[in-house]
Subunit: 408 residues, 2 copies
């Protein structure tokens, strides 16, 4: 969707920030592929059947027994939830986080959006990952920041390359990183690079936004300690959307208290406060440590199996025609076609074959990633994923005009 501002007469015009702003390609695609017969590997939807609906129903009933659950709440969040988050994050970063250093937001996307407004003036430089999370790119573009991409490899953001740019004079206000199980690349920022990135922030005086919605979704071993463990210039975001339920709309920010105060101040104008009801539900779920541990074990196991099924199906169907990153957690697998097929062009054919993915270009800053695609393995079970890959192979054959024998 692009805005048809040209059809507005001058008195109907919109603000200048709307000029050229475009809808997330992913979200438009989600609309296009809402037909139930499409296997959409494009979305970023957690597995609906793994969302603990019974536990949420129980928690909702308990919450609604408390009259405060239906009333307005504090802008910074339900106090017991801030305490719970502060305790959990303290454990992760290895130092005490006070509840005053936590703001509960309407999903971590709201934290990102408010942080951009709190930290950035038009023209400020923001370092982003290439490819990068589209929701972050959109927020920084809306803030009229100058985006400077830094490449990713199997160990996450190329911090050495960032350091070279800093030495050459780059002075970002913010560096944004999805440190764990990157969206879209699936990679994890290595422990060494976390320490290095934190040291660069201290030396060159920029903020790090450590955007971590996927950190709990590890398969074999937890990710290294957060970047926030190594510097107080880190504003760390996380979320209950991938572990509890997207519809609770519970995300959070922790970090510098003055930044938290500024975020809270803007949140007053943005939406007054979050939902006391869903915040109370989230509190009960996060506080029930035995249940939560078992639930996360279930989700991790299911996602590991799904990632394995997707990768097996891809290898069977495409063999050497594609390469893919090894998946250690999260929700996404990034593939690249070795034979130069253009994934944006292929998409139309794929949708005709009732399968969808996100072309790499959607995540591009200055690169277009023309041969890459992001596939989500979280939403469907292994059988459906295999069928999706089968359709993708048929689409690929039709698109390439070949009826080549299958790789295996």
């Amino acid at each position: 969707m692009s805005l048809d501002s040209s059809s507005l007469d001058s008195s109907f015009r919109l603000s200048s920030r709307m000029a050229g702003l475009r809808s997330s390609a992913i979200r438009d695609l989600l609309t296009l592929t809402a037909r139930p017969d499409v296997i959409s590997l494009a979305g970023g939807l957690p597995a609906t059947e793994l969302v603990p609906r019974e536990r949420i129903t129980h928690a909702a009933q308990r919450a609604l027994a408390d009259p405060r659950s239906v009333q307005y709440g504090e802008t910074s969040g339900w106090a017991p939830l801030r305490e719970t988050i502060a305790a959990r994050e303290s454990e992760k970063v290895g130092r005490r986080i006070a509840p005053a250093e936590v703001v509960v937001t309407h999903g971590s996307q709201q934290a990102l959006s408010l942080l951009a407004q709190v930290l950035l003036d038009p023209g400020d430089t923001v370092v982003v990952e290439e490819p990068g999370y589209t929701g972050a790119l959109q927020v920084f573009r809306t803030a009229q920041a100058v985006l400077v991409p830094v490449a990713l490899d199997a160990d996450g953001m190329d911090v050495e390359a960032l350091e070279r740019s800093l030495r050459e004079g780059l002075r970002p206000k913010v560096v944004h990183t999805v440190s764990n199980f990157h969206n879209p690349r699936g990679v994890v920022l290595s422990a060494e690079r976390r320490v290095h990135l934190a040291a660069l922030a201290d030396r060159y005086g920029f903020w790090i936004i450590e955007d971590d919605p996927y950190g709990e979704l590890w398969f074999d071993a937890p990710a290294p300690a957060p970047v926030a463990a190594h510097s107080d210039r880190v504003l760390r975001l996380s979320s209950g959307s991938k572990t509890l339920a997207p519809a609770l709309r519970i995300g959070w920010l922790h970090g510098d208290r003055r930044v938290c105060e500024a975020v809270e101040l803007l949140k007053q104008g943005a939406d007054l406060c979050g939902s006391s009801l869903t915040q109370q539900i989230a509190t009960e779920l996060l506080d029930d440590s035995a249940w939560l541990a078992a639930h996360l074990t279930t989700v991790r196991g299911a996602y590991a199996a799904r990632a394995g099924a997707l990768v097996d199906a891809l290898e069977t169907a495409f063999g050497e025609r594609i390469s893919h990153a090894t998946v250690h957690g999260g929700m996404f697998c990034w593939i690249e076609f070795a034979d130069g097929v253009d994934t944006t062009a292929l998409l139309q054919t794929a949708v005709e074959h009732d399968v969808a993915y996100v072309p790499g270009g959607a995540f591009g800053v200055t690169s277009t990633h023309p041969h890459a695609a992001r596939l989500c393995f979280a939403t469907y079970d292994g059988a459906v994923l295999a069928e999706g890959v089968d359709r993708l192979r048929r689409a690929y054959d039709a698109f390439s005009g070949t009826a080549a024998p299958r790789a295996n």
Copy 2:
């Protein structure tokens, strides 16, 4: 709360929009008066005991039987809710509103905040009411707009005065009005002025934001048809917060389709989407017309009784010392002290006497309303309101250094 930016070294600095931005005085006051022994007439909280918690519990159970209730939803809102809102608003404005002309937001405050970003560039002129809704003033100030106040009288915004300014060359991008049961003044924009204001928007080419969270809370008769009935330059906001429950965080915008698309686009970056769960709950409640009609009758009756109790108590305690607007609905009563007492100065003494209100100055644009105060009658029953007024009178006596005999 003001931000202590001066203590941030230059690399810790915030964006320029944070400079001078201050927290809503009302919300800080709510924090100050959270002690249970304070009768706070300062807040804008609907009566907790009138929020239909049982009905919401039932609706939550039903919603949670549907797996879609826990998943991400469309940015513009749960489709059946948009249809319900479109149907209800169609009836109000007397023409067919399509669901595509509705965006569900995280409270109507989010609609206001996104509209400001969609419509306003820094330096644009926004006409606001004097005194005005603090949440709107904050949003427009954050957007770095130039605020031009227009006075209110017993018939709402002085549209004749606005027309004079327009004739003299004023060219606002937006005119904001709380048309029904004004916050803080309690007044209703007259039917004639609605027609007049709409005609001015058409003639001079500005947007009207008709901010209407209180319209359903009428005591004796419904308010006149919305301003949106008279022009397609009206962006009309309303909310379930005052009629269903604040914690559902359900607000909405309807109006020009291109503006709705732009709001949806910014909402993607702001928070991706609302809560499918609370949107499904709200849909069930709004669709249950028999229940809703009975519920609204109950709330209207209770609020009318409370408004009456507050006004009676004020007249008994203060007699000619105060004047007050006649209250026909909503949640607020605006009073002015005839003897020149400064309500900002009085507040400290009032809080010492365990009663709070909002001084008029909090709502001021260029005026300070030094002798005025906003009292909310919605939160407490008549007996508590009377006790609150009693405390206010004792505080007033202590502040004035008098032990004058009571007016009656």
